[in-house]
Symmetry: C2
Subunit: 307 residues, 2 copies
């Protein structure tokens, strides 16, 4: 746990805290002894694991509503994990993608400025870096994430905001409702039989959700310690392996007869074959603790809990 002066009094406000990653970030903050508040939509359901341990603050997507929450909570730092889902292709979803990923967090930054709250941790994605480029979006979701970082720059340069953006790669963990690749493979291996897949040569960058929680704690600690106007962006990069190698690890751990048929399906359009190299832009003071090979058992029903 990073050392923060007067850690017992640190008050954090999270957006997206009822989502899968957000819930683990909330738990990691609680593990630090921090006071955790969630900025929630009225329709969101509080995860049972957080019940009674966090403050809940419903809001409407307006400046006035966000301003009222911030004035009441007065957090030392806001961590923004809410986002509209990636991969939306329907024209009707375009407005929601921009409003959730750009308009709402901009109103949040303005309300923070109005209340003198100057520490912000933001969430980005490796999908902003198709073909490893400085900026090349995989889809509109990734473009919206980049667009909001431009707004963050304004508040950093002109309003003194401290802002740290964490760019996530693929994540996994127990009871993951998101139907992501590790969960899909574990479920398929438990059932046995065969499964048609793409070529399997794409490289994945995998981080366990508990390590993601610790990454946000570290970013919040860095934001609390930074001078006004400081802005940085870091990759939260875990373990890299091909999809084929991941399938081999899962099959070995689950121990069932399971035969992925690689090449049965085409690669996705704009499949990322090699995620961007984080280079020197890794989150300082953080390294993943969990390796996929060790964690598969914890993803099975009745498996051991994560240490």
């Amino acid at each position: 746990m990073p050392e923060v002066a007067g850690a017992g009094a640190v008050r954090i406000l999270l957006t997206g805290g009822t989502g899968y990653i957000g819930r683990h970030v909330a738990e990691a903050c609680l593990d630090c002894g921090w006071e955790v508040h969630l900025l929630t939509r009225p329709a969101s359901i509080l995860p049972p694991a957080l019940d009674g341990r966090v403050g809940r603050h419903d809001h409407q997507p307006t400046f006035e509503s966000l301003n009222a929450v911030l004035r009441a909570v007065r957090p030392e730092c806001v961590a923004h994990l809410a986002s509209a889902p990636a991969g939306a292709r329907d024209p009707e979803q375009v407005q929601q993608t921009i409003e959730t990923n750009v308009t709402l967090p901009t109103l949040l930054l303005e309300a923070m400025a109005a209340n003198g709250i100057g520490r912000f941790v933001n969430t980005g994605t490796f999908w902003q870096h198709y073909r490893g480029e400085a900026f090349c979006p995989v889809d509109l979701y990734a473009a919206a994430k980049q667009a909001f970082q431009d707004v963050v720059r304004h508040y950093a340069v002109n309003r003194g905001l401290v802002a740290i953006t964490l760019k996530l790669f693929d994540t996994y963990g127990p009871d993951d409702p998101r139907r992501k690749i590790v969960t899909l493979l574990v479920d398929a291996a438990r059932k046995g039989g065969d499964l048609g897949m793409s070529g399997g040569e794409q490289i994945l960058d995998l981080t366990h959700v508990a390590d993601v929680g610790r990454a946000f704690v570290q970013a919040i600690a860095l934001a609390l310690a930074a001078p006004g106007g400081h802005e940085a962006s870091y990759f939260v990069s875990g373990e890299r392996m091909s999809l084929k190698e991941l399938a081999r690890i899962v099959t070995a751990a689950v121990g069932q007869h399971f035969a992925p048929r690689f090449g049965a399906l085409a690669y996705r359009e704009r499949e990322i074959m090699v995620p961007i190299d984080p280079g020197t832009d890794r989150l300082p003071g953080w390294a993943p603790k969990h390796r996929v090979g060790d964690m598969i058992a914890t993803l099975l029903p009745g498996g051991p809990a994560v240490a």
Copy 2:
């Protein structure tokens, strides 16, 4: 006038066509023999100079509404000049700044994609480049302009859009309601007397609105000729001089007793002292025709018309 194959049939849809610059862009397009349509808000007033010469299409800020207009008009190219005003500081204006400068044009691009319309000219500002940096916004307006360019990148990379962004510096012209620096100085010089001003050492980059109209015509011609997925950003850079030098030119042209008191006022917060150097990013095939010194007479009541 740039040569465009089958120029008589070219159909252009403009946003912001009822504004000061948009109106001059519409006139420049009409001068090319192009068919001009304006995408308008119901409350907008059509400039008398365009009455009967352009199609008017009121819209709501939704995908469905924009989709209906594009399906009906089927323009070869859309030029986007609508924007929320720069310099807004009120928290209540933040939502409008994002919705007008990011959400609405994103819905427009999605509606273009849905209708197979793949040529787009966008409007940016030198305020995206405070201190001459690759991106450093003067204010939220400039950040929103940059944010929308990230969205444009998505449609160029992933949907085959041809997109050219023109970044404007300061502009001026006759009957300008925008209270910009050239107009303010001409009005002050006509009244005579003295006027408290800032130090006057800031460098201005001034382009006459008729030259801006020709710049958009050139950008539309380039967009019509470019292969799918082409994306570019160009500066529309005119004549550079200090505010002191501009005041001297205006005073000489108006011929009244007028004494600007330089240094009486502080520079603005985040005043741009030297606009970004366009370097090699000037709009190809375009150069300004009008010089400020020659144009002052046309800005006076009853002055000659612009050739």
